[in-house]
Subunit: 459 residues, 2 copies
């Protein structure tokens, strides 16, 4: 299939139709109306703003998540913005139907409207300029404005790039994804002109390293260079100086990981060589037998199942990751080879951590390294241990240890020797542990993990 | 038992009796006579010198190894010393009975006399002074002279120290022992006055670090300090500036290892706390069941048996050590935990290497780390491998590997991936490999190794 043909077929699927646009316009009108009414009823002085992909006309067909910002005058005290903003959000939420409180820097209301459209009602300041910005969300207003002023009709190119990034699993700036954000995709298209150009420049962009669409390096060289230096030192794959943010201290790509850029890097090249719809709309991962994978590899699978407190994914997933890495590190220290880990939700109230390891049992003794022999601690070590020997100036001793990995994990948890997510410490300590076996509903997850279909670049 | 009582009992065993002294005097007289005669017969101008513990009267009762040096005038060309020295040695050897050629810096004759006394006949120069020294052995003449001038009647204190060091397995300067030499023992007694003083100062000596009996640091500060600096940088446990050697460039303790000093360190302390004959004359290691040790520890024993070319221990042992360390390193790289190694002769023409490892089998796949993804090599790695993924900017792939350790070792040897002693490469490649089993005559060796009775400080 030719590139143009693929692109035109994808566009048919992702560009909203006139009907859909009309629906969105109507939706936004209604929401704005409701917000104004409720603000007036409560006597709160706010201006409703739409931000995000709906406001920028870069949303994908069928994806109508609304970001409605409730902007307070600049002279409102922060505490009032927080309180009144939440109060107003709740009132609007009630009118729309169901809602819940979500937490970012400040709490906000997440409502559902017209049987499914997600509406985030976020209090903020009515900023005109970077100098006015007081909370993290205020920037969104400036971003929306900048994109609309610079996109120059390339909205569908952004849609293509976003859909491509979703298809290859490199989209999303959530802390547990660390992929390309919508705003970053928009900047890339604005800077390089089209979807295809961005893909063709996957290598160039990485080598160039710095993207500075607003020319900050000329306008404010000192601060901008400091930002570049800091981000390069932190070994970020890209440094994209936020165009409407002055002083230029912010890297739009600060959360982009090397792994996600790497996916983009290889998939961009593959797509340009052999264009296909598959990149945008991957057919479901092929299922397989996780037990056959274990036999093929000769490895073992430990699965921990545990209750989780009520938490949004933004909070839960980083803690699951931290805990899984904690197990990886602690078990490696104990002499088990950890091939990989995987974690996620299991049903509504539980989560799982899977660890692929090289064996179930280890020897009954471990070599315990001690201090240098001619120190106080060395003489102590010599006195306290049996079977002591020297390698160079360092003492070693034999230490009796638990053999079986389940006993090892129990002991590590009891002795508090696994770094765990802070809200998961208690519940992981009470986890159920399964060896080379998972419940039916996790079988596919286990297969995708063990076969590396889940996080791999290539099978 | 009191210290004095132990010492006096040990002295009874190690100080030669008057009869023995008479025998030694007679022996030396005869040997000198024979050497003179043969030199005259062959028309070679040499002076026979006795060096070593017999000449210094620091030999242990029953230990009559003779070092007879054949000293040539200083103006003799080196080639002539080599050739004529060997010729003369052979002639003397013939007169004494059986002899063989041994190899150090130069070849020399090792003869047996009077049914068992070992006599080394070593060509050298007739040196008066360090400036005359031309070959490594020439120094021995100076050492013998210096000790005799300074020992001041402490000969039995040296005997005690030497016997103690033998008892705790810390004696011998051979490259595969790296313990205390006889000369170093003599210097320590001369410096600190007695056997007990040397033991009491085990910690002090290490902290002091530098021993300079001839005051070179004052007489030749620049060169002596350079020697100290060099040896400290090489992390030697002690720096003993060779007293009769000018310029002072030589550390008498250059070959002393931390492990052997460590044995001395702990055993000296234990002996002073609870003096006993056992330190000087250890009762034979207790035997035990090596299979029971393997079960207790949950580890495994791989034994390689192979032919060895005719080689003296001084050459063979370092090569066995190098080969064993080679296996340790290569197997660790392959994911096997190596708890320790052991090597030695097995019968007259074979040698063994034992490796204690944590398991016999590993998984069928290995995680193969690749280069950074955005490089030429990275793109290559991506193309060539299946199941590729990223961790940070680095690519990884799954690699099929041999599971069983014997197959792994065979493959490592075939691919030349084990560092081996240079004369053992071929023969180790054809080694017989045994798993958790050794021939009857190695059973005790295996037990001593696995139980750490062999190289341990403490059981």
């Amino acid at each position: 299939m030719k590139l143009e043909a693929v692109i035109s077929e994808v566009l048919q699927k992702i560009v909203p139709t006139e009907d859909e646009r009309a629906f969105v316009r109507e939706l936004m009108g209604e929401l704005e109306e409701i917000a104004r009414e409720k603000a007036e009823e409560l006597g709160i002085d706010v201006k409703p703003y739409f931000v995000g992909s709906l406001a920028k006309d870069t949303y994908l067909a069928g994806d109508h998540d609304v970001d409605l910002f409730l902007a307070f005058p600049l002279d409102t005290p922060l505490e009032e913005v927080r309180e009144k903003g939440l109060e107003l959000g709740k009132e609007i939420g009630k009118t729309l139907g169901e809602y819940e409180i979500a937490y970012a820097e400040h709490p906000y209301v997440r409502a559902k409207y017209r049987g499914g459209v997600k509406v985030d009602l976020v209090p903020c300041y009515d900023v005109r300029d970077w100098k006015d910005v007081r909370t993290a969300v205020d920037r969104s207003i400036l971003h929306t404005k900048w994109v609309n002023e610079n996109i120059n009709g390339k909205n569908n190119e952004v849609r293509l790039l976003k859909r491509f990034l979703k298809g290859i699993a490199a989209y999303g700036s959530e802390i547990y994804v660390r992929g390309f954000s919508g705003y970053l995709s928009e900047i890339l298209v604005i800077k390089y002109g089209s979807f295809a150009e961005v893909l063709e420049k996957a290598d160039f962009i990485l080598r160039q390293k710095v993207i500075d669409p607003a020319g900050w390096l000329k306008r404010e060289p000192e601060i901008a260079m400091k930002t570049v230096k800091r981000e390069v030192e932190e070994d970020k794959p890209l440094v994209v100086i936020d165009p409407p943010v002055d002083p230029p201290r912010r890297n739009v790509a600060a959360n982009l990981s090397w792994e996600k850029y790497g996916r983009f890097y290889f998939k961009a090249d593959e797509f340009l060589r052999r264009p296909s719809l598959e990149f945008f709309f991957p057919t479901g991962k092929t299922g397989g037998d996780y037990l056959a994978e274990l036999r093929r590899k000769g490895t073992h699978l430990i699965t921990l199942l545990f209750d989780v407190p009520e938490m949004v994914d933004d909070l839960l997933f980083p803690q699951l990751e931290r805990s899984a890495r904690g197990f990886e590190k602690a078990l490696s220290r104990e002499g088990f080879g950890v091939f990989g880990w995987n974690a996620g939700r299991y049903g509504a109230e539980k989560a799982f951590i899977m660890l692929e390891i090289d064996r179930i049992d280890r020897p009954r003794v471990k070599i315990h390294p001690g201090p240098e022999f001619f120190t106080e601690r060395g003489r102590d070590f010599y006195r306290k241990n049996e079977r002591v020997w020297l390698v160079g100036k360092r003492l070693y001793a034999e230490k009796r240890v638990k053999e079986n990995i389940i006993d090892v994990i129990r002991e590590l948890l009891e002795k508090n020797q696994v770094a765990l997510g802070k809200n998961l410490r208690e519940t992981i300590r009470a986890a159920e542990m399964l060896v080379d076996y998972v419940p039916r509903s996790l079988e596919n997850e286990a297969y995708l993990f063990l076969s590396r279909e889940k996080d791999g670049l290539k099978q």
